[in-house]
Subunit: 193 residues, 2 copies
C-alpha cells in the first residue's frame, strides 16, 4: 500500500513525470521545505528552484532541510509573498507547487489567502511553459480555506480545455483531506481533441 | 503525454497495482469489452473475470474482443444485470470495475440506473477482500446520470475511512469528463491512522 500512497501522492508523482533535469520551478509555499527538497532533487544540478515564504521560520526550516541534503545551491529562498513572484522570475517556468493553508508546526493564524493565492496562480500560469505543470494542495479546515478553494476552482474551471488539463482529486470519505489540483499546459501536438 | 494519460487512466492503473495474478474480479458493465480485456490480462491464466451486461450486443462484442486476444477462457460472460451478481459469485473478490452510462455505439436509451448500480456496489463491497479495489467511471451527461452519481457519492462518503480509502477525481475544466471513483478496502496493517 506504500505503493498506493506513493501513487496518490499525485502532486509529486505528476510533477516528476512532467519535470526534467534542468527545469526552472517555483515552490510557492516553502513551509518546512519538503516540496523544495523534492523539487531540488528532480531539477538536477542544472535546474533551479525558487522558494517563496513570508515567514522567517519557514525560510529557515527550508534552508536547514536543503543544507542537510547538500541541495541548497539549487534553491533560491525568497522571503516574500508568492504574489510577487514576477519581481524575481522573468523567464518561463516548468512547474510550480502550492501547498496552501498554514505552516505545519507554526502559527495557525498565518495562512495563505485567497487574493494573494489567485494572483500568484495567475502569474504562474502566465510563465508556464508548454508541457509545464502547476500542482496545488488545498486544505480547507481553517478560516478562509473554503473561500480560497472556491476562488481557485472558479479560476481553473474557466481554463481552456484545449490548452490546459485540470485534474481535481480528493479522498472524499476523509473529512480533513485536502483538495488537490494539477494543471498541465498541453503541448501543441497534444491539442488535437 | 501518453505517459500522463496513462497515469490518469487511473481506474486501470490503480486496479493493476492492487490486483495480482490469480485474482477474482468483476466487470460490472461489459460494454464493448475493453475493461474485461484489461482485467483478463492482469488476472493471468489462474484468475477469473465475471463480466455482466444486460445487452446481447455488449455480451457479443465482449466475447469477440476476448476471443481475438485468446483470453475468452478467463472470462465468464453473464447476460444479467450486475445487481444480481450474488447469484453467480459466492466467493470473495479482489476487484470490480463499473463504467456507467450507456453502451458506446449502442442504444443511448439503455443506461445503467441508480437503483441497480447501488445494489451492485453494495453487493460488491460485501464480497471485496482486504486490499481489494472497486473503480467506477461515472458519466453524467445522460438523463439520470447526475442522480446516479449523487447516490454513489452518498454511499461512498459514508464508508468508514479506517476501512476504506475512497479517491474521487475528474478533469474539472472538461464538461463531458466523467467522475471517477476508486474504493480500496484497506488491509488490517494499514489501518493505523
Amino acid at each position: 500500500m506504500a505503493d498506493f500512497w506513493q501513487m496518490v501522492e499525485f502532486s509529486h508523482l505528476l510533477m516528476s513525470r512532467q519535470i526534467s533535469k534542468g527545469a526552472i520551478v517555483i515552490d510557492a509555499t516553502a513551509g518546512n521545505g519538503h516540496d523544495s527538497l523534492f523539487l531540488a532533487r528532480i531539477v538536477g544540478e542544472d535546474g533551479k528552484v525558487y522558494s517563496f515564504d513570508i515567514q522567517e521560520k519557514a525560510i529557515a526550516n527550508t534552508a536547514r532541510l536543503l543544507a542537510e541534503h547538500h541541495l541548497l545551491d539549487r534553491v533560491e529562498l525568497i522571503k516574500d509573498g508568492h504574489q510577487n513572484l514576477d519581481k524575481y522570475i522573468k523567464k518561463e517556468i516548468d512547474g510550480m507547487i502550492f501547498n496552501l493553508g498554514y505552516l505545519p508546526g507554526g502559527d495557525k493564524e498565518i495562512t495563505t489567502r485567497k487574493d494573494t493565492t489567485i494572483t500568484a496562480l495567475e502569474k504562474g500560469l502566465k510563465l508556464l511553459k508548454y508541457g509545464g505543470i502547476i500542482t496545488m494542495v488545498v486544505y480547507t479546515g481553517h478560516p478562509g480555506g473554503r473561500e480560497e478553494l472556491e476562488a481557485i476552482l472558479a479560476l481553473v474551471d474557466g481554463l481552456d480545455p484545449h490548452i490546459y488539463n485540470v485534474l481535481n482529486y480528493k479522498f472524499i470519505n476523509q473529512k480533513s483531506a485536502p483538495e488537490i489540483l494539477a494543471i498541465i499546459r498541453r503541448r501543441a501536438e497534444e491539442r488535437s481533441s
